[in-house]
């Protein structure tokens, strides 16, 4: 048997409709859940996924099997239990879940059935952003097809297991992607993060055991069940398992998204898949996994894009979607744009984030317009500390500080030039044609 190396994306047509239920089933789709529902206990499914070493693809990289292990099981467990799919992809630079949502909704539904069965959840919500209307329509269609074929609803394929899936369309706030803020959003409450503990696995949606899972993570499950944990571990290049949807945007020749073995090097993704830098532009730095990850420089090009390698140099794999900073774009302007986003999207619940992020944005705007003062650099440094991990309710502000902190390390002379030359050096020449 030839083993496919792009299990998540091989059935996605670049410019065509997603596979229908029949097309998916013809190529082995939903076979894994037929076996699962008749031959496997929820505990066995959990064990297989734990053995596969699948780690969450939404940004934090938490081991999926371990996440599930905290859900109360057995007859005494509170009911109903819920599975929530986080399809609120809104991290600047991230566009990989959209590919899976638009391109192959049935694969996601099969993943939902597997995760729900593993924790014995009888209700799932797909929390999707308003701007992904095409994805939402594709999902609604696929859910209808699956329901009509007995793959969703009451007594799935005669197994006695029940599962309802609903699509919840949100109205556009980045904080909704935060695990516990998402639960508040789904309940119709003010969208702020919740205190942890209790963790959602024990007390989540409406106080019931709940798992919140990223789209890409769930799309891995049908393949893990179909081919086994060992096969899945073999797909990765380093310590991590499976494939990863990597993406590159910015001044490269072929911006896009590719499914590759997890642990592929930065250089291979950048040069081979993204086609290298556009003519007239040179690589300066990159955020490897979306807007809240620390910059990597050309010293890091031969690093593996996996969880541990990037952590070891103070960055993160995040969503695996890289944003390239080229030599003709001002790094201060780049970070200013990011901090504008984070300041705007703060939910306002805790003070450091609500007041600190707009302050950071104002300081960067002042630098950009020539009003920066030398002491502003100290104030920026202090924000990196005071908005860092452990000082805020959730990871929003610490995430916003990761690019700022690394920019202050890598581009300090560019910040200083804005002060010395009383303005942006790039503005004089123009950043592009």
């Amino acid at each position: 048997m030839t083993i496919d190396r792009r299990p998540l994306t091989e059935q996605i047509r670049r410019n065509g409709p997603p596979p229908t239920l029949c097309e998916y089933e013809d190529r082995g789709g939903y076979a894994a859940i037929r076996t699962m529902l008749t031959e496997m206990t929820p505990e066995e499914v959990q064990r297989e996924v734990t053995d596969s070493n699948l780690r969450g693809r939404g940004g934090a990289g938490f081991p999926t099997g371990k996440k599930w292990s905290f859900v109360p099981m057995g007859d005494d467990a509170p009911r109903p239990k819920y599975l929530v799919v986080n399809a609120d992809e809104m991290e600047p630079g991230s566009f990989k879940d959209r590919v899976l949502l638009e391109g192959h909704p049935h694969q996601l539904i099969e993943g939902i059935i597997i995760a729900a069965y593993a924790i014995q959840a009888e209700c799932a919500y797909i929390f999707i952003r308003w701007a992904y209307r095409r994805s939402a329509l594709a999902l609604e269609r696929a859910i209808r097809e699956a329901r009509e074929s007995g793959l969703l609803g009451h007594d799935l394929l005669g197994s006695g297991f029940n599962l309802t899936v609903h699509v919840h369309t949100s109205a556009g706030r980045y904080i909704c992607g935060e695990e516990t803020a998402l639960l508040n959003a789904l309940e119709g409450h003010p969208v702020i993060p919740r205190a942890k503990p209790p963790y959602p696995q024990v007390s989540g949606l409406w106080g019931k055991p709940t798992i919140v899972q990223n789209v890409e993570t769930l799309c891995n499950l049908p393949h893990i069940l179909a081919h086994g944990a060992e096969w899945y571990r073999g797909l990765g290049k380093g310590k991590d398992s499976g494939t990863k949807l990597y993406a590159v945007s910015g001044r490269v020749n072929r911006p896009g998204v590719w499914e590759l073995p997890i642990g592929t090097t930065v250089r291979e993704i950048l040069e081979h898949h993204a086609g290298g830098m556009q003519e007239g532009y040179a690589f300066r730095a990159m955020q490897p996994g979306g807007g809240s990850t620390a910059f990597l420089t050309d010293a890091h090009l031969d690093m593996a894009m996996d969880f541990e390698s990037l952590s070891s140099v103070g960055s993160r794999l995040g969503t695996g979607t890289a944003i390239i900073l080229d030599d003709r774009t001002c790094p201060v302007g780049f970070v200013r744009n990011l901090e504008h986003f984070f300041a705007q999207e703060s939910c306002g619940w805790c003070t450091p984030c609500r007041d600190g992020l707009p302050w950071v944005e104002r300081l960067l705007a002042a630098l950009d317009s020539g009003d920066g003062r030398p002491q502003d650099m100290d104030i920026l440094e202090r924000h990196v500390t005071f908005l860092g991990p452990g000082r805020t309710y959730c990871a929003h502000a610490p995430g916003a500080m990761e690019p700022l902190k690394s920019a202050l390390e890598h581009f300090r002379s560019d910040f200083d030039r804005h002060i010395d030359e009383r303005g942006c050096p790039w503005a004089k020449t123009g950043t592009d044609e």
Binding site: E91, P92, F95, H168, G188, H189, S249, N337
Partner: protein, 168 residues
């Protein structure tokens, strides 16, 4: 403020059916409140005070509480918007790929900045966080359809057809 009986009659039967369908997905009504607002907004363009009261009544929420949600989300409009909605991505990849030139063109053509509506109510331009189309930067969403990458001239031509299509 209108009388409560008048408020109830503000939502059409069609709107109520669609809202009730959403509400049936949840154990509490408030969980469907944002979707209810979006359903009404899709019909009416924006959420007036009276419509807010009507939806609040329908989902059993205090109007002030529902307004907290309505004003929290970026894409629920509590003031009138134009017949066409252009969302220009203002996040980092689109910024570095030239989104400012798209906004500049919209400014020169319609005389409006992001966050404003043209005098003839034809078009509202809004800045939007990352549209999830960074491989197609700079990207815009015109009446819920994604376009990109676009030059200012391409945006112009696109608007020529998008804006004329649905006009009477």
């Amino acid at each position: 403020m209108s009388h409560s009986k008048d408020i109830r009659s503000m939502l059409s039967e069609h709107e109520k059916d669609m809202i009730n369908e959403e509400l049936s997905h949840y154990p509490t009504k408030r969980a469907g409140a944002v979707e209810a607002l979006m359903i009404v907004q899709r019909q009416r363009g924006w959420i007036s005070d009276d419509l807010l009261l009507a939806v609040a009544d329908h989902v059993d929420m205090a109007p002030a509480e529902l307004d907290r949600s309505a004003t929290f989300y970026n894409l629920i409009f509590r003031q009138p918007v134009g017949r066409h909605l252009v969302l220009v991505c203002n996040s980092v990849t689109c910024w570095l790929m030239g989104a400012d030139r798209l906004r500049e063109r919209l400014r020169s053509r319609f005389g409006i900045d992001a966050g404003e509506t043209s005098a003839d109510s034809r078009i509202t331009v809004l800045p939007n966080v990352c549209l999830g189309a960074c491989d197609r930067a700079p990207a815009v969403l015109i009446d819920e359809t994604l376009h990109g990458p676009l030059t200012a001239d391409e945006l112009d031509r696109l608007l020529d057809s998008s804006l004329s299509e649905t006009l009477p």
